[in-house]
């Protein structure tokens, strides 16, 4: 595994939303795989259903690595018990924006907002706090968001 310069040994958290939008799990595994290739360890945080979707899709844990409950993630973040080098927040509804704003406010880090779903533009427009937005109308077909990730991820890993 060849890591991106400066990224080796770093950790990223992928904060999943409700798994009701089909592409969430495939994009999460795709992103986790690409982070690994760049030497970044991915950790998935989500509710039980979101975590199980990822774990069942990747039974041998080639991509997912560690997983944690999203409530525990927020509590540990608020208590400053955990910090990551990169924060990827999956957003397809208002709750996703709230989680992204919370992570940004607590850590002061520039979070990466992965915005998708039927109302992706409304969600993107509603975000007024500083963050990097990767947005595409992707509901059943992950390719529009995958293409955006391919374009932006090298910059994200090198610059955040």
């Amino acid at each position: 595994m060849s890591g991106e310069k400066g990224a080796e040994g770093k950790r990223a958290v992928l904060v999943l939303g409700c798994p009701q939008v089909p592409i969430q799990t495939s994009i999460a595994l795709y992103l986790a795989a690409h982070l690994r290739k760049k030497g970044v360890e991915p950790v998935i945080a989500g509710n039980r259903a979101a975590r199980l979707n990822a774990e069942v899709s990747d039974p041998d844990r080639h991509y997912t690595g560690s997983v944690m409950d999203i409530d525990r993630f927020i509590e540990d973040l608020a208590d400053a018990k955990i910090r990551f080098d990169y924060y990827f927040i999956f957003i397809h509804n208002d709750a996703g924006i709230s989680y992204a704003a919370t992570v940004q406010s607590i850590t002061g880090a520039t979070v990466v907002a992965l915005i998708y779903g039927e109302h992706f533009q409304d969600m993107a427009d509603a975000i007024e706090f500083p963050c990097e937005k990767i947005a595409a109308k992707a509901v059943h077909n992950p390719m529009p968001l995958k293409k955006k990730i391919d374009e932006v991820l090298p910059w994200v890993v090198s610059n955040l």
Partner: protein, 95 residues
């Protein structure tokens, strides 16, 4: 919901946006405080887009509670100790 689930709560708004919750608190509660995400209410770190408005009416605490699949609930719980704790430590009283 942790300890909040074990308390006697009333849901005022269900599946609301963070902005709807903020507007409701500011309009309907006799006092409110703006807090940052991570501020603890009933021992849980509050989630939301800052500023998060927390309302007080006597001993009644009105606050948003967010879950990934259900959006944000605006909840109301009667608790003298928690209301006084918020009055004592919340950073900015707005009304």
């Amino acid at each position: 919901m942790g300890c909040i689930e074990s308390l006697k709560y009333e849901i005022i708004l269900r599946g609301a946006s963070f902005k709807e919750c903020r507007d409701y608190v500011r309009t309907h509660c006799s006092e409110y405080y703006d807090v940052k995400p991570g501020f603890r209410i009933f021992e849980k770190a509050v989630i939301g887009v800052p500023p998060i408005s927390v309302g007080l009416d006597g001993d009644t605490v009105t606050f948003p509670y967010t879950k990934p699949c259900y959006g944000t609930f605006l909840m109301r719980i009667d608790d003298h100790e928690e209301a006084e704790r918020i009055r004592r430590i919340a950073p900015g009283k707005k009304k």
